[in-house]
Symmetry: D2
Subunit: 357 residues, 4 copies
Amino acid sequence: MTLALSPFDDPILSGLVGDDDVASLFTPSATIAAMVRFELALSRASAAEGFVPEAAVAALERACATFAPDVDALRQGTMRDGVVVPELVRQLRMATGEPHAGHVHKGATSQDVIDTALTLRLAEVASIVRRRLRIVDGTLGDLVERFGDRSLTARTRMRRAMPIVAGDRIAAWRSPLLRHRNRLDEATRDACVLQLGGAAGNLGVFEGRGPAIAARMGSDLGLRVPERSWHSQRDEIVALAGVLAMIAGSVGKIGQDIALMAQEEVGEVTLASGGGSSAMPGKVNPIGAEVVVALARFAAAQMAVMTGSLVHEQERSGAAWTAEWLVFPQICAAAAGSLAALTRLLGDIDTVGAADA
Amino acid sequence: MTLALSPFDDPILSGLVGDDDVASLFTPSATIAAMVRFELALSRASAAEGFVPEAAVAALERACATFAPDVDALRQGTMRDGVVVPELVRQLRMATGEPHAGHVHKGATSQDVIDTALTLRLAEVASIVRRRLRIVDGTLGDLVERFGDRSLTARTRMRRAMPIVAGDRIAAWRSPLLRHRNRLDEATRDACVLQLGGAAGNLGVFEGRGPAIAARMGSDLGLRVPERSWHSQRDEIVALAGVLAMIAGSVGKIGQDIALMAQEEVGEVTLASGGGSSAMPGKVNPIGAEVVVALARFAAAQMAVMTGSLVHEQERSGAAWTAEWLVFPQICAAAAGSLAALTRLLGDIDTVGAADA
Amino acid sequence: MTLALSPFDDPILSGLVGDDDVASLFTPSATIAAMVRFELALSRASAAEGFVPEAAVAALERACATFAPDVDALRQGTMRDGVVVPELVRQLRMATGEPHAGHVHKGATSQDVIDTALTLRLAEVASIVRRRLRIVDGTLGDLVERFGDRSLTARTRMRRAMPIVAGDRIAAWRSPLLRHRNRLDEATRDACVLQLGGAAGNLGVFEGRGPAIAARMGSDLGLRVPERSWHSQRDEIVALAGVLAMIAGSVGKIGQDIALMAQEEVGEVTLASGGGSSAMPGKVNPIGAEVVVALARFAAAQMAVMTGSLVHEQERSGAAWTAEWLVFPQICAAAAGSLAALTRLLGDIDTVGAADA
Amino acid sequence: MTLALSPFDDPILSGLVGDDDVASLFTPSATIAAMVRFELALSRASAAEGFVPEAAVAALERACATFAPDVDALRQGTMRDGVVVPELVRQLRMATGEPHAGHVHKGATSQDVIDTALTLRLAEVASIVRRRLRIVDGTLGDLVERFGDRSLTARTRMRRAMPIVAGDRIAAWRSPLLRHRNRLDEATRDACVLQLGGAAGNLGVFEGRGPAIAARMGSDLGLRVPERSWHSQRDEIVALAGVLAMIAGSVGKIGQDIALMAQEEVGEVTLASGGGSSAMPGKVNPIGAEVVVALARFAAAQMAVMTGSLVHEQERSGAAWTAEWLVFPQICAAAAGSLAALTRLLGDIDTVGAADA
């Protein structure tokens, strides 16, 4: 319900506004697992390039197989260091033991771990969103087949304008989502890349083997390897957030239209069910329609933070980077959640347009 | 850490950006408890005014004493109804049993419950924030005593301007927080009121006993009773959010200044500790300074949503109201969290200004 | 029209979205006049306190009586210095001539001039907005008298809920505006103060006579004198912007409602006239209703910038201060413009509610 | 200066924050000229397809050759109709005279004219921005040549981290701008298209000749012809705005870095000139550095409005569309203005990094 601190994974409210699949990607354990994947890939690639001994890989793999992070210590470490990585590395090194503890995380910096752990998840977010876009497109296609020829009134500036058919309006809902799917593919391809730069961001600490290590890591993790590290270059990330926010926006338009069409006096849409009221049990509310409008407004405002976080001081800005963390996962959840809510809403539609067309 | 869906109550990241006291106010159980308080107060007041039988109160009180909500059903209900209240009322009625089930929630509407459950918590948020403001003020006062006379360079437009003393700069940090305390008192007094309007928002369903019931409920819950219900009048709520966002903003200014003063070449502030780096163990980062800047930018952007949600359709807008839910608790957490982070940061300060003043 | 760079003073579009009275306060000549007022008040106060010779006042007054600024040079100066003041002072000193040129602006800094020139105008903005609020309140009162008893359907979540009367809905429009009027008075009183600090912001350059000079200036300019300069303490300014944005928001709510009520099928409001269409000459559009919604969304988003500009580095942040300039005058124009548009819209209302009530 | 209602074309302040070339595209006369181009192209295409007589084209061309719009009437018309088009068409028809007055604008709707008049200009904005991006890239390339090998300290979280060379940091400035250039090309290609739909948005009024007329108009105006009209599908427009806002953001990062590098104690950049101070004539301020940060924050916040305006009701939302008008031209000006300010700033750089590298 309502008034959770974390609407997108609150046990009650997340059912309304969130998306369980996306939520599962951003739990603490999923985040730690993604960071551990980074460390393992780094270790393997570093060993293959002779930057750490082969035996260090086996030691880390053994440690990871049974690694149970001390979450309280991770929390304390994050408060102290601003990032979880130093403490997580300390725990991983402890689990790995000597003589290989020092080979864990060797050459990497916190941002390498966190940004890669982000892009690994963003690729999965994109898959989820793409799947939900396909479902919505299919459902809209069904609506066109069933009701596309029915008559509807084009409305401009909140007034009746000209006769159209339902298919005209549904087409205007559908086309942006198709374009967003292409944008999403492109933005995901560009943003979901490895991050590896080391403390200075220029791979200097890898003694010339940085590019080769990066190439192996990318192949291990299924991530493209960019020309350089992008510690302070957040444009690909912001561009992807922009696509997700636009998806929420275009879904919001559909919701707004359905809410208007479902008004009793207008009756251009009839809904099979819908939300109830505690005061008026028989009342049917177009819940999903309103939820997607709220999510659209929410996601839009977060773009002020994401776009503003391009102003990223020097080689790494703790302020700009932390600001990203505060909003990007929520933008992902809002986009996926709005598609999920729209799917439920479209499933409730009984009729569109007037039967007498 | 980084990349939680809900930064303010993630087990790891919340230590950095959040506030445990505020978080505890917005858990599902705290939310349900606040709503149950509303229903109890309504029942008692309604019985006192003869709108429900006295025996109904006892039945509900008995039910609440052992009430264990079915959270999954609440989630399903929220997805269906857009608000948790209809399902919660159903469960409360079931627990109350006949013949009094129908007297539970009688006359009230979902928004009465949720908005009152919000303002009950906002009053507590305000207490927490007020307390944190007092602590910060005390710490800044200590800094003035210890370092107020030390020399500092006034800097304008990122350039050295004129000699000042450290006390000048600290005074410019302190004054806005004092003013915010007054603003907070005033905004809390205005916003933390009872919501009671019934389905139409005009108390019509209470058969003339609405005002008397409201008066009793306000006294029971410790909330002022407004002249009318404010279902669609969100200005007091937005004004309070504005004060909280401004607090985060003014704290962000202090953080930004400290980050600049702590630069090695500038050395106007020295920090006893600070965040470490996974790549450079000896490096000391002004973590708290950056975190509060991030929180300031975050809270500022949420005001676009809050202020925009004043555009609240008709007697109750699901879209505008849901948008509030998505951001208001997070604004509370950001304000309190920024004060908590600042307190930790100020505690790390070893010196301010030059000793040779 | 549409697509002006400066919607609020574009010769065509400003009629729709702007307010001529507010626009006239922010023309280049009005801005220069306000800055000249500051310099004159400073000169008089400084002479009275013996900080500059009495003859310097007369020389400056003579110069100002016929002062014709070289606007191109002011533009060049602003590009060079980031503020207009150094070049304006150079021109004023040239016009004043020797031996008093050096007494012009003595002790003050650019920000003293610009911030005071802002608060002088904000006080006038507040008067305009207060007047427009009063007009709207009167018009709403008239609507209550004429149609308050007519029946209307309360609508919640975009669905018909319960019967109410038109007076119920109009009361929910009116109350927030009354509260905003009080907020505006308070915020104006707090924000519309003198700025005088000198280069370091601490009046140091005035050789002990700073407070006395400030007191005389305040009395001359009709501005309250704050305890200290507020070069880097922007909270009063942000608070005032917040009230103006909330006004636009509450007006937007009225517009949204009227657009919904005016839908042909709903017919809860009928409009005497309204915008035409180039394609359908007979169509009547609720132009003002939509415009105020757009202005509400616009003003809300600007609060992200205003609130964020509280993060003001050191003794003066060129970045945060310039950001204020980019949005604050537009927030003023949006608030006043939305009230003007609402006044026109309310004037077009023929009926509210159903006659058969 | 400072505190103009329209910072981007104020005679004084626009020199600091704006771009004259972009400003010239959004004057009333440029807007009217673009709309007249639409009407001429429509007339020619309609005649070629037999939808209006050939003689109507000549009559309209004659009228346009000497057309002097009545700007006051356009303002009145915009206030009345919400768009300038009905009154502009009235004036054009009057100028064309009988018997061809009725053939002017035949079949088109206001939004066709305004949106096409927008995309015509956006294509020019893109050219300007692309040119400015190329200049900045060249200047950054020069800096790399001159100072690329000089030593610099990588700074992470506002602390000294590791030695790098100046070329490393400049590369991190340069790469996002190169990517933005590609994004801009793509977004411009997608967004700068013809709008033609007629009153219902489906070309229905053109009696089957709509597609052919649109094809001819596109070729006449140099605009791609989309598959359908996009009256309520604003995603291409929002995507282009997003690229422009990101450009401002990435430029802001460069400015932020330069402001930090230019601090006297840091001295990683020295500036030949810079803004002066009215109180301290010798002080050199990194004006451009701060201005671009302010523009980045401004543009970022406008994305909340632009992305939110995707929630566009029905076949045309006056509210969402007007909201676009309030911010899109300003986003264009901010992007171009930030590149212009950066060019001036980079031109002022004397040295980057330490000579002893």
